[in-house]
Subunit: 332 residues, 2 copies
């Protein structure tokens, strides 16, 4: 072992000895293989990782505002398939999914950085991808401020979104007594995905919800101003994502399946398991849902309550407890 090796070995050992973990508490994560892997990384990083586990990182203070940052990778064949969408839709959707994390933080976008790994056979579709990314940037008022472009055997798009926030909407803010709300109507992406996986053409309305999710940026800012205590954007499915809120806030949630706003023809259980919605699930006190709906022409629906108790989510049909699948996980 030479001197360099010794130095590196020593560094690696230091890294496994957290010195000041009390100064950078991470947000508690729900159970699951992906989160076990994250927990293990955090353990190894010790003091060299800080405040991990929310929808986005909060860097504070810079002047009187915090900087909010989040990163999101989309991989061909894992997060999307080429035959399901046009290049423009693929670019739009990957960017919108990343921007949705700013919505969940009640953060105003500053800009987007995009790293693109692109195979040779995708090169003619670069314009389409660019247009879709530009469409999302325009919609969220988040200009592209940086990027990286290289060859890759699969198309890989990593978006890092930056925003500001004065009082970010964390996952850890839900309190017993709060109400659980959800924006929009759920189920479209789940139904579309099921059809496409079976090689069938999805219903146009469901397909549109899958390929053209809308990051709820303005809605997130409004909710942060009107009594929301915690928020998450629905990427794994309402049932899975509420589990993240419950774990982060160390609370129990009770959700009434009959209240879940589902698209016509979609069961409440399927709506609760439908991922990649990019609607917001929030907790808060009494929020004026009618005012929200007037402002955004979008439903805001009460679906449950926050209680004290073991962190987790219990679903009920009328007064009967029911099981709801956890939704879609990418890392399994």
């Amino acid at each position: 072992m030479n001197e360099d090796d010794r130095l590196r070995r020593r560094r690696a050992i230091e890294m496994r000895t957290p010195r000041d973990n009390r100064f950078h508490p991470h947000t508690p994560l729900a159970s699951g293989a992906e989160f076990d892997a994250v927990r293990r990384m955090l353990e190894r990083w010790g003091p060299h990782a800080r405040k991990i586990g929310d929808d986005a990182a909060v860097i504070n203070p810079v002047g009187d505002r915090s900087i909010i940052a989040s990163t999101d990778m989309s991989v061909e064949g894992v997060h999307f398939r080429r035959e399901w969408m046009t290049p423009q839709e693929i670019g739009y959707r990957a960017a919108a999914a990343a921007l949705s994390d700013l919505a969940a933080m009640g953060s105003k976008p500053l800009g987007v950085l995009v790293a693109i790994g692109i195979p040779e056979e995708w090169r003619p579709d670069m314009d389409g991808l660019s247009d879709g990314i530009g469409e999302a940037a325009q919609m969220a008022d988040a200009p592209v401020i940086g990027g990286d472009l290289s060859y890759s055997p699969q198309l890989v798009l990593t978006f890092t979104v930056l925003g500001t926030g004065q009082d970010p909407l964390l996952r850890s803010g839900a309190k017993p007594g709060d109400i659980v709300y959800v924006t929009g109507r759920l189920g479209g992406p789940g139904e579309a995905l099921r059809e496409m996986l079976a090689g069938r053409e999805p219903v146009p309305g469901h397909r549109e919800r899958f390929v053209h999710p809308v990051p709820r940026i303005r809605e997130g800012l409004w909710l942060a101003d009107h009594g929301a205590t915690s928020a998450i954007d629905i990427s794994d499915g309402l049932s899975g994502d509420l589990r993240h809120l419950a774990a982060a806030s160390k609370v129990s949630m009770r959700v009434d399946l009959g209240l879940i706003p589902a698209l016509e023809g979609v069961s409440a259980a399927d709506a609760a398991a439908s991922g990649e919605e990019y609607e917001l699930a929030i907790t808060g006190g009494e929020i004026d849902t009618a005012a929200f709906e007037r402002e955004f022409a979008l439903e805001l629906t009460r679906v449950g309550v926050v209680e004290s108790g073991d962190p987790g989510v219990r679903f009920f049909q009328d007064t009967e407890p029911v099981e709801v699948p956890r939704g879609y996980l990418h890392f399994t």
Copy 2:
């Protein structure tokens, strides 16, 4: 064409009509296929992309400081090969390469976001990757503040680095009359790469420079404070990266091959073409190189001068013009 399609088509058209390009000038880019692709994206994004083309994005002002951001993707089989390095070295190197962009901006790191796409067969190496990433985070005092983890057919690591800066060191600041400097001694990574590509074991010192580049963070801050006018970190090779500085600053550079600091046994031309060095190339007035060397135990060497004229770099051996290969480009 339905209403949604029409709406999207209209958005796409708007996107190709830059309205306020004068408010977000991009940094001029050098010639080359990768940069043509970037130029084309910028054209399509119009006003939805801003100030692209430096080592990192500058978001200003937030309080009295700017936020500096850069993103960098490393793909297995493109930027590295598994058989060349340990998992810890792969994690360290990808993170260090991204952090090097903050060094080139004279920026103080705030933190790192890491998006990891990982194949099943790499899962046992997650700890090694984590340790390498943590090692780079520790070295640069840039904690991991966020991330994303998903499955991918190849290992893909995208790092987004964030820092602050009061007076960032841009690529566009070189002026006729400036001197061109370079930190450290070049050639190690190029020699190591050549040997590894030929299936041979590189010299340990060269291998170490390849697998364990040091982001020159403190050096970049010092140089920004001591008269540097522009900077870039050497990733494509000194000859290629000086071309970026010259293009961005709209100046001509004249470099004396005999002055290039090369490792023992490496020719000056090979040193000038060696990529992935992550040393800094800078321009500036008279800088106290002896003070720099005392401070950092690292050489700072004058290699040329900045002149007015067509943007580009001319190399001389004594007084004879010589051709130097452009170095390594990933996107060809």
